[in-house]
């Protein structure tokens, strides 16, 4: 089942937790189908002058990445030296293979374009004898219009990155990622909501840690602004935040939600780990 897991690249320097990214569009599609939307952050080549519709890489929240690893749906890949090593290890045969690959892609493009061209000429009713002449011109034109693609995923390290999918490596990377988060409790809040079917996205713009959607954000309005996790027993509810949160929620039609995380050592059921409360302005006073 290794192949079906999504590779999550952790960008990190020395001793850093890492920024989780996904580069492969099929993987992104798969994540979406299991309730992980993430945020696209790269320039969309077909519309490079705007920020509303972006392309790969897909950036995940640390909590998302950790949940995917825990659920065996994804695995973490890291190594700032990996590209250097892979590039250095390439031998002449390797490069030849890459060039052959490019040539094959060109050949396919030529084939496709010629066919289209012929099709067009036929439709226009150009006679066969005139065609031969046009053909040489066209060939020159065609050669310069062949497309060299910059791929989303790496071909250099595609073999190497699979080797990261081993329990002990995953445990280490996950631990590293987890300790770099501002709040440890947020993971439990994320997990509980995710497993109840909510889609979550980063929520700082609405004054929260997460925004929760009842289904795919492409189709549904968000329902809640989820606050950073609280300690169930120790942290007092900040009433000033309740007041502004509740008012804000009324305006944007989102409930203001707090989750209290119970201690690690408690024997309670995992699903009882977080206790949620939803706050809403009562409409008077």
């Amino acid at each position: 089942m290794v192949s079906s897991k999504v590779a999550i690249v952790l960008l990190q320097g020395d001793g850093e937790a890492g920024t989780p990214l996904v580069f492969d569009i099929e993987s992104i599609q798969k994540l979406r189908s299991i309730g992980v939307a993430g945020i696209l952050t790269g320039t969309l080549p077909s519309a490079t002058q705007q920020n509303a519709f972006l392309s790969v890489p897909l950036r995940l929240m640390a909590e998302e990445a950790l949940w995917l690893v825990e659920k065996q749906l994804g695995y973490l890949v890291h190594g700032d030296q990996m590209v250097h090593t892979a590039a250095g290890a390439i031998r002449a045969e390797g490069m030849k293979e890459a060039r052959d690959e490019l040539e094959r892609s060109f050949e396919a493009q030529r084939e496709f374009k010629r066919q289209q061209h012929h099709e067009k000429l036929r439709r226009l009713g150009v006679k066969d004898e005139c065609r031969a002449e046009a053909e040489t011109d066209y060939s020159r034109l065609l050669e310069s219009s062949l497309f060299v693609e910059t791929c989303d995923s790496s071909t250099l390290i595609s073999q190497r990155q699979r080797e990261f999918d081993k329990p002990e490596i995953q445990a280490r990377l996950a631990q590293q990622l987890r300790t770099g988060c501002k709040s440890q409790g947020d993971f439990h809040v994320y997990k509980t909501l995710r497993e109840q079917g909510y889609f979550l996205s980063p929520g700082s713009r609405f004054g929260g840690r997460f925004i929760a959607y009842p289904g795919d954000p492409l189709r549904y309005h968000s329902h809640m602004t989820v606050q950073p996790a609280m300690d169930y027993r120790k942290d007092p509810l900040d009433l000033l935040q309740v007041v502004s949160g509740g008012r804000l929620g009324t305006g944007v039609k989102k409930l203001w939600v707090v989750g209290g995380v119970k201690d690690n050592d408690s024997t309670e059921d995992e699903s009882e780990r977080v206790s949620f409360f939803s706050v809403e302005w009562a409409g008077f006073g």
Binding site: A17, I39, T41, P45, S46, A47, S204, R219
Partner: protein
């Protein structure tokens, strides 16, 4: 196509991901039209409250997803052989070299060396590769032969970021670049300033510093003279206040405040006072508004400077006031509030300000009554910088502006109040601007 013109048909609601209209963009069916250059008015409010189990809704969601993923996979990055611009990443320099540079990106990006090669910073390299403007390769140091330099994918490029901070900064860089802003890395920019100039500067700097220090110590003793009991019960028997202003003035001596520098002189004084409060903060980018006559070599002062901050990283926090002040002292950019002054007292060393303010001058120099002028001053504030906040992929920008309520007194003065004129009936001098009670 020119980088600037391209953006003009895109509605402003699409420009920024953190649009007011809530949430994330949803309708990818527009993007196909967008890339064909048609004017697109994004539709809003087509979302549902929650899944209701109907097929119709399923269908709509399916359509939305298809539109999204089709747009993603149809938009492949790269260029045709004719326009191919190869850029080679040089690992030791963490930069990329374009041996045969061409194209409009060179107006605002890269540095051309003696051999005619263009050197791209790592951000420029990744950004241009993402757009499909250049084709990225990895330069293997032991070989001159490019035939053995492998082609890189987007994933490879990202994996070459040296730290989380660098990748966060790149996200902000790309966000601004996509909108047509001209963005330079701040450190890169100042390092580029000629060393001679810097040396000359430092001599002057030292002189100024000494002056400022004496000034500081003097003003320090003056600004806090308050050691008398403030509102002593006897005060009311000894002093008579004849106007509300006098009462206010006796009250507002109590709390010391930090006054913002408001003129060239005050700014220079502030800049050369000791600055150790910025901590680890420094500006990431110098940013210029989109402009067609930009000169890389003599860019002038940037329109604003940006710091980047990751709100979810354990290592980072929203800047404290001390850190903000430290950043303000380091600020080297155009300052709107000076534009009016530059006109009155031309200063040859600061022509940039005058130039930058020229466009706005007509607006800024328009005379308002003093109390309106005052409100505008308070509201606009003084020095400012932009704080780009990274929230797991969503970037939002906050403008932090030094404000100064302490230097202004806004109590109501009946004599300055706008006098409402009654038609055809000139007011008597005794009237004093107040409306007479009506029965």
């Amino acid at each position: 196509m020119n980088e600037l013109d391209e953006g003009s048909f895109i509605p402003s609601s699409l420009l920024d991901s953190d649009d007011d209209a809530d949430e994330l963009p949803q309708d990818w069916s527009h993007i196909a039209k967008l890339s064909r250059g048609q004017v697109v008015v994004p539709k809003r409010g087509e979302k549902d409250y929650e899944p209701d189990g109907t097929n119709a809704q399923e269908m709509l969601l399916h359509k939305a997803k298809t539109a999204m993923f089709d747009s993603l996979s149809d938009a492949s990055r790269g260029s045709v052989v004719k326009n191919l611009i190869k850029a080679y990443y040089v690992p030791d320099l963490h930069k990329a070299c374009v041996p045969h540079p061409k194209g409009s990106f060179m107006h605002t990006m890269g540095k051309v060396d003696r051999n005619g090669s263009c050197w791209l910073s790592f951000f420029e390299f990744v950004y241009l590769a993402e757009r499909g403007t250049i084709t990225p390769y990895y330069k293997r140091k032991e070989r001159d032969d490019h035939n053995l330099d492998p082609l890189l994918g987007i994933q490879d490029l990202y994996m070459l970021f040296k730290s989380q901070k660098e990748s966060d900064e790149f996200a902000v860089y790309a966000h601004l670049k996509r909108l047509g802003f001209i963005v330079m890395q701040s450190s890169q920019n100042s390092a580029g300033a000629s060393s001679v100039e810097q040396e000359k500067d430092s001599a002057v700097q030292k002189l100024r510093l000494r002056f400022c220090q004496t000034f500081e110590s003097l003003s320090g003793s003056v600004s806090n003279p308050f050691n008398l009991p403030f509102y002593h019960p006897l005060q009311c028997h000894l002093t008579r206040y004849c106007t509300s202003a006098q009462i206010y003035e006796s009250l507002n001596k109590l709390i010391p405040y930090i006054a913002a520098p408001k003129t060239q002189e005050e700014l220079q004084k502030d800049m050369c006072t000791k600055n150790d409060s910025a901590g680890k903060w420094e500006f990431s980018f110098d940013v210029w508004k989109p402009q067609s006559n930009f000169k890389k070599k003599t860019p002038g002062l940037p329109d604003f400077q940006v710091v980047v901050f990751n709100k979810n990283s354990q290592k980072e926090n929203f800047p404290t006031y001390h850190e903000m002040r430290g950043l303000l002292k380091m600020l080297r950019c155009k300052m709107d509030f000076l534009s009016g002054q530059a006109n009155e007292q031309p200063n040859p060393t600061k022509t940039e300000e005058a130039k930058g303010g020229a466009k706005k001058k007509s607006k800024a120099n328009k005379k308002y009554p003093p109390h309106i002028e005052q409100q505008r001053r308070i509201k606009r504030g003084y020095r400012s910088f932009v704080l780009a906040t990274m929230d797991d992929g969503l970037v939002s920008f906050i403008k932090i502006t030094e404000t100064d309520f302490g230097s202004e007194n806004v109590w109501f003065k009946p004599n300055n109040a706008p006098v409402r004129k009654e038609k055809g009936k000139p007011k008597g001098s005794k009237f004093n601007g107040e409306v007479i009670e009506s029965r």
